[in-house]
């Protein structure tokens, strides 16, 4: 990488007032008025001048400075909106039931659904296993030769790839989980859940958008990071 030049592209150093307003609007969580901006950058700054300069600078770029009433914000250029929606895959977090089921299969494979439920202490719905299979991490691996001949499940090579494992033997053992503090019951959202709740609704993929129970708690991880 060639080292960055300490000047803007045209060779002129960028005015500090402009830089300050630019950074403030960029980091802002919502549109700001000139007064709100001034509260950050200081009274000495000509906020109106800086905004005008930025408006000109960003005109025609992929980002624009726009004014809505008295509020200013950066946004992506409207003609490029299609790019932002063009993602081929939608990333969805696994539900808690999904994560636990996946972990049980990984640690105990091959396992039947009844065995997974015995370990979790909670029933799992068909949807949970479907999601794991859709994700490509779990596959049916034959039937257990016991009465009822239940299907048994195992992880796939994609599972190893996704989690960066050479083999299932790389999974930390119980003693290692304990040593890393992962066996300590933590006072977090997970524990607040009633383990006996009926998780079927949670497991149905479409129910995610409805914002049901444990899904919301999982999502909140995003924001806390």
């Amino acid at each position: 990488m060639s080292d960055a030049v300490p000047h803007a592209a045209d060779g002129n150093p960028v005015d500090d007032s402009v830089r300050a307003v630019e950074a403030t609007l960029f980091a802002a969580e919502e549109a700001m008025t000139a007064d709100q901006i001034r509260a950050h950058v200081g009274e000495a700054v000509d906020v109106a001048g800086a905004l005008a300069a930025l408006e000109t600078h960003y005109a025609g770029r992929g980002i624009e400075l726009v004014r809505r009433g008295r509020h200013w914000r950066f946004q992506t250029a409207p003609d490029l909106g299609r790019l932002l929606r063009r993602e081929r895959t939608q990333l969805r977090r696994l539900s808690r039931a999904g994560v636990e089921t996946l972990a049980i299969i990984a640690y105990h494979e091959p396992v039947s659904r009844a065995e997974i439920e015995a370990i979790r202490g909670v029933q799992i719905s068909k949807g949970t296993l479907d999601v794991l299979m859709e994700a490509g991490w779990v596959r049916p691996a034959g039937r257990r030769e016991v009465p009822g001949r239940p299907l048994i499940y195992a992880t796939t090579p994609d599972f190893l790839v996704h989690f960066g494992l050479q083999s299932r033997r790389d999974l930390p053992g119980i003693a290692e989980l304990k040593a890393a503090g992962l066996l300590d019951p933590v006072d977090d959202a997970f524990d607040a859940l009633d383990p006996d709740e009926d998780e079927d609704a949670d497991d149905v993929p479409d129910a995610h958008n409805s914002g049901a129970g444990s899904h919301d708690l999982l999502e909140s991880d995003n924001e806390s990071g």
Partner: protein
């Protein structure tokens, strides 16, 4: 260790304190090596030039003063003190009496360890002082986000996975009981067997003679245990006489007629 949280480490590098302050701050150290390093930094020379002899003396003085204040020292501090006392006297011995490894080598190894810990401590401080996300630099506050069509992809990271398993185990382990079949001779069996066989024994006979024979070691133990209890029970009921001449001597049985 308990004090570590109080000295959050975003701040300046580790403290260098005067000895008289040290005596009051026992909880602050994360083990003997940590204490040694702080003492070493107090010598205010490059760690490569550090005098291990002086350091040993400082450490021992420190431990002594802690004792005089009746502060309780963890075992590893005392082990280190004993080792340093040994090292100190070995360093003062004439060369030809030295053992292998030589005290110079031991001292050098200690100095190398201190250097390495010190390097990581400084590195940590420098790392924490960098322009950090959320403190010095900021990502966009309100990104539009990149969305969405059709193809779903499920997301789960490795930590979430193993953490979930850990939590699951912590929560549910007691629920999963698998009772292993063990080979045992029940008391009923033993009483039955003993009452049948004792009738044929005319004279005093060792208890082993009446026990069920087995290849399995655990079954033999079980057989002895329940056989012994069966003998006691039959004696209580007045069918059997028991005799043992001495502790650990053979236990002899005879039918009571």
């Amino acid at each position: 260790m308990t004090g570590a949280g109080a000295h959050g480490f975003d701040g300046p590098p580790p403290r260098e304190r005067e000895p008289e302050q040290l005596t009051l701050d026992l909880d602050g150290w994360e083990g003997p090596l940590d204490l040694l390093l702080s003492l070493a930094r107090g010598q205010k020379v490059d760690l490569r030039q550090i005098s291990i002899l002086d350091l040993a003396k400082q450490y021992l003085d420190y431990v002594d003063s802690a004792r005089s204040l009746k502060l309780e020292l963890a075992a590893d501090y005392l082990v280190m003190a004993a080792w340093l006392a040994f090292l100190k006297s070995a360093l003062l011995l004439p060369k030809e009496e030295q053992a292998d490894p030589s005290p110079e080598e031991l001292a050098l190894r200690l100095q190398l360890r201190l250097e390495r810990l010190n390097a990581m401590r400084d590195a940590g401080a420098r790392l924490m002082a960098r322009d950090r996300d959320g403190r010095d630099v900021f990502a966009r506050g309100d990104p539009e986000g990149l969305r969405v069509v059709a193809d779903r992809q499920w997301d789960c990271d490795y930590f979430t996975l193993i953490n979930a398993y850990g939590q699951l185990r912590a929560r549910t382990t007691p629920r999963l009981h698998v009772v292993k079949r063990r080979a045992v001779v029940t008391l009923e069996e033993a009483i039955d067997r003993l009452s049948r066989m004792i009738a044929q024994a005319v004279d005093w006979t060792r208890i082993e003679h009446f026990l069920a024979k087995s290849e399995l070691p655990e079954l033999r133990k079980s057989s002895l245990a329940s056989g012994f209890v069966a003998a006691l029970e039959l004696a209580r009921q007045g069918h059997v006489l028991l005799e043992q001449e001495d502790i650990y001597a053979p236990l002899m049985l005879k039918a009571r007629r």
